[in-house]
């Protein structure tokens, strides 16, 4: 039994919070490249998006496999709820964005929107981390690492918007971490919910998988294709997905 597993038995909610916090802090790493360069090419952000897409799709394969073991239709129903959740969040933000725009300039609105979008979508990731703990320690570690790694390019993306508009390096890192704070906050209730209602486990795993797949399709991929040639994006994302599957298998 590893130390982490022993801790998990002792104080599960605390461990879930710690894992969620670790993924949030990883987001701050996205600001690091800006210590060396003042601007980062759109192509580099596109490449980071492709890697994130591959990791998330690979993670979804794991979530779906785990979920369908408990119940196939519950997993898929949960996945559709996850899709609807991201869709609803986007719609909601789309409406609010106009009001934000009335108060600030175009640049300010873009910066605010970036932070808000990234923060809101972290809720689903927090649910993914929390729900993953219901699927066992191994799956939880895989999903946590996947989301932590995936957070780095997100921090990169946030910093890429904030930094060229005059935000300090520390503030870039700060806003990056802030955008991921919903992860530890959502992970605990998601975990407790899953624990308390075992039958809801496939729903939770499906929800996370659906939210992640939809996010890949609606945000990461279209953005990636805009700034880099599509064979490069496709190959990179595919190889990352394969590596992710191999990684999950090895754990």
């Amino acid at each position: 039994m590893t130390t982490a597993a022993a801790l998990a038995a002792a104080a599960p909610a605390l461990v879930v919070f710690a894992y969620g916090l670790a993924t949030a802090l990883a987001t701050g790493l996205g600001a690091v490249p800006f210590a060396f360069v003042r601007t980062i090419s759109p192509r580099a952000v596109a490449v980071a998006n492709a890697v994130a897409a591959g990791l998330m799709l690979g993670a979804c394969f794991g979530l779906a496999a785990e979920g369908t073991r408990y119940g196939a239709w519950q997993t898929i129903a949960g996945a559709n709820l996850g899709v609807l959740f991201i869709l609803g969040t986007q719609r909601f933000l789309g409406r609010r964005e106009i009001r934000f725009g009335a108060t600030g300039g175009v640049e300010a609105r873009r910066m605010v929107l970036m932070v808000v979008v990234m923060t809101v979508h972290s809720f689903a990731e927090g649910v993914a981390v929390g729900a993953a703990f219901g699927g066992g320690m191994e799956l939880a570690t895989v999903i946590t690492i996947a989301i932590a790694v995936h957070n780095v390019p997100e921090g990169l993306a946030i910093s890429a918007v904030l930094r060229p508009r005059g935000t300090s390096l520390a503030a870039c890192a700060g806003w990056s971490v802030f955008s991921s704070l919903p992860q530890p906050l959502m992970a605990v209730p998601a975990f407790l919910f899953v624990e308390a209602f075992r039958p809801a486990l496939p729903w939770g795993l499906g929800f996370a998988a659906g939210a992640m797949v939809f996010m890949v399709f609606v945000e990461l991929l279209p953005e990636a294709y805009e700034d880099a040639p599509r064979p490069a994006i496709g190959l990179l994302a595919s190889l990352t997905l394969v590596a992710m599957l191999l990684f999950q298998r090895a754990l």
């Binding site: 897409a53 799709l57 394969f61 779906a64 496999a65 369908t68 196939a72 239709w73 997993t75 898929i76 996945a79 559709n80 899709v83 869709l87 986007q90 659906g210 797949v213 939809f214 399709f217 609606v218 991929l221 279209p222 294709y225 040639p229 599509r230 064979p231 994006i233 496709g234 190959l235 994302a237 595919s238 190889l239 997905l241 394969v242 590596a243 599957l245 191999l246 298998r249 090895a250």
Partner: protein, 242 residues
């Protein structure tokens, strides 16, 4: 309803041929709209692409589930090879896009050969799963033929010739499906490799061809919805199947 023949190879042949022949349906919009297929129903094409993408990603997931039960490293190496095969043919296709129709046709044929491998491998895993994948690829063949046929007629080819080329480009799929099925059945040791190859090829096909095309043809949100919901339905159907 029994969809298989007594001879498994005949089942592979029949269904991969049906899948390739679906390209004929893709010619119809161009025939209806006239030379060059002006005013192609792009939104419809995008949704068809997204539907095929969801089906293929789900198939890749199901194959990976079946494939990873065996040795992982050959499967992973096979997957990397499959992804590279799509990358190579697509890169060649882009470089020669301006070139004559013959080159585009040849590379298109090479491309659908990778899809044939996937069908053959899926058939070797389970005939009914193979039939499902053949149908998924048939869905993808329809808009693919529409685009190819429109491009060929726009370059001055007559409609019957363009239609014939668009369908013939998918013929290699039938040959490779039977070959991959034979290989996987005759040499079980090769199965992890070919399974991996099919997974890598399917995933990269979706990410390099289907999704970028879809995004250009219809809105991001509708594309993402169609693809992700289709994925869920397919995984569910497979999970419920006895």
């Amino acid at each position: 309803m029994d969809l298989t023949f007594r001879e498994p190879a005949l089942t592979v042949l029949a269904w991969s041929a049906i899948s390739a022949a679906a390209a004929v349906l893709g010619v119809l919009p161009v025939a209806a709209l006239g030379r060059g297929g002006r005013e192609l129903p792009t939104t419809w094409l995008g949704w068809a692409n997204a539907l095929a993408a969801g089906m293929m990603l789900a198939a890749a997931y199901l194959l990976a589930e079946a494939g990873l039960a065996g040795p992982a490293l050959p499967a992973a190496l096979g997957a990397a090879l499959g992804a590279l095969a799509i990358f190579a043919t697509h890169t060649a296709l882009r470089r020669r896009r301006a070139a004559a129709g013959r080159t585009a046709f040849l590379i298109g044929a090479l491309h659908s050969a990778s899809e044939g491998v996937a069908i053959g491998v899926a058939m070797a895993v389970d005939l009914r799963f193979g039939i499902f994948l053949a149908l998924a690829i048939a869905v993808h063949n329809v808009p693919e033929a529409t685009v190819l046929c429109a491009a060929l007629t726009a370059r001055g080819r007559r409609l019957p010739a363009a239609a014939a080329l668009a369908v013939a480009a998918d013929a290699s799929q039938v040959v490779l499906a039977v070959a991959a099925f034979a290989l996987a059945s005759a040499a079980p040791a090769a199965l992890p490799w070919v399974k991996g190859f099919a997974v890598g090829a399917l995933v990269n096909l979706v990410l390099t061809e289907l999704m970028p095309d879809s995004y250009r043809e219809a809105g991001h949100t509708s594309i993402a919805l169609v693809a992700s919901v289709t994925m869920g339905i397919v995984v569910l159907l497979r999970g419920l199947a006895p």
